[in-house]
């Protein structure tokens, strides 16, 4: 299989460059990550983050033929050759395919991704009805791989101010959690010109989400919550 890989080592490269290579396929190869791990260049193998290699940890998010995805769950079948591998767009590159996720997680923490409940702690756990629990489906599955935010033009223009699709999906996860009592403050926090409303419903996020989630729809639901809240 022919590949073209983004290379950049800040220690001795002036500029990033693309390097071509060819990897022999073996019968056990299923997913793109299997092949990436066998790439050998003269200076060693390209840097990539990976951990669980089954689409749960979200470490190996990269740009594959122009489209963000997880290398570990991208089937080799149907990939157009040469397979062009680049780091996540708009994220600062640390080395080769490894990017700096600091800004991404800063936005994530800014929505306070934890349960806020000022009521007295019950003797046992805070209970939730099965119906209320079902509202978290399509939200809790997010693995924070960054595919959506990295492919979002609104995040490209305002990465410091716009929370981005991943953060907003998480914001909705806590907004509709029946056990969370900070709904009002959470909505207030998002109601400015940038944090939520830079979303122009471009829907790249939904298009690329490797977990099949729909950040675009969740953002729309936050807006509708705000409308209801303000009436």
């Amino acid at each position: 299989m022919k590949l073209s890989v983004f290379r950049y080592n800040p220690e001795h490269d002036q500029k990033p460059y693309m390097q071509d290579c060819e990897v022999e396929l073996v019968p056990t190869d299923r997913m793109l990550l299997d092949v990436i791990l066998r790439i050998r260049f003269d200076d060693g193998s390209p840097a990539i983050r990976k951990s669980c290699r089954e689409g749960i940890c979200g470490s190996d998010a990269i740009n594959i033929n122009g489209r963000n995805g997880l290398a570990c769950i991208t089937p080799l079948k149907g990939l157009k050759e040469p397979v062009v591998l680049r780091p996540l767009p708009s994220f600062p590159v640390i080395r080769d395919l490894v990017v700096d996720m600091t800004r991404f997680f800063k936005q994530y923490y800014s929505i306070k991704p934890w349960l806020i409940n000022d009521e007295p702690v019950p003797e046992r756990e805070r209970l939730q009805s099965p119906q209320d629990r079902a509202k978290l489906d399509g939200l809790y599955e997010c693995i924070l791989c960054g595919c959506c935010t990295s492919q979002c033009p609104s995040s490209w223009w305002n990465p410091e101010k716009f929370v981005g699709p991943a953060g907003l999906l998480q914001a909705h996860r806590f907004l509709i959690d029946s056990r969370d009592t900070a709904t009002e403050q959470r909505l207030d926090d998002l109601n400015d010109a940038y944090r939520l409303y830079r979303c122009r419903t471009i829907m790249n996020c939904t298009e690329v989400c490797p977990k099949g989630l729909n950040p675009s729809r969740e953002i729309e639901k936050i807006r509708l919550m705000m409308v209801k809240d303000s009436v």
């Binding site: 609104s154 223009w157 998002l190 109601n191 010109a193 409303y197 807006r223 409308v227």
Partner: protein
């Protein structure tokens, strides 16, 4: 006007413009004016005048929110941004004045 309010203005104005455009198109298909004067009389009837004002109010507020969003995305130096927004605001107010004049005295 930021956040939720700006977003609502954009949605509501879009729906207004869509409905009015459809209404005018359907009207011209069903009952096309036979002459310039007939068209002019129709445009100047009180109901249509009010509709014209609503349409342009929606158009200008829609433009303000939309173009301002583009400016906020692409123009970052504050002085330049203020300048562009000022030019936009003044042009919109001028155009609104022009529309008002047409509706009130019946000609440009």
């Amino acid at each position: 006007m930021t956040g939720l309010r700006a977003w609502l203005v954009q949605r509501v104005s879009a729906v207004c413009m869509l409905l009015i455009t459809l209404f005018v198109l359907v009207h011209f298909l069903v009952d096309p004016p036979r002459s310039y004067l007939a068209w002019h009389d129709w445009m100047m009837s009180p109901g249509i005048s009010v509709l014209t004002l609503v349409f342009f109010a929606a158009l200008f507020s829609h433009m303000w929110v939309g173009v301002r969003d583009v400016v906020m995305d692409y123009i970052h130096p504050t002085a330049y941004r203020v300048l562009v927004l000022a030019v936009l605001g003044i042009s919109l107010v001028a155009m609104a004045g022009w529309v008002l004049r047409i509706v009130l005295i019946g000609r440009g």
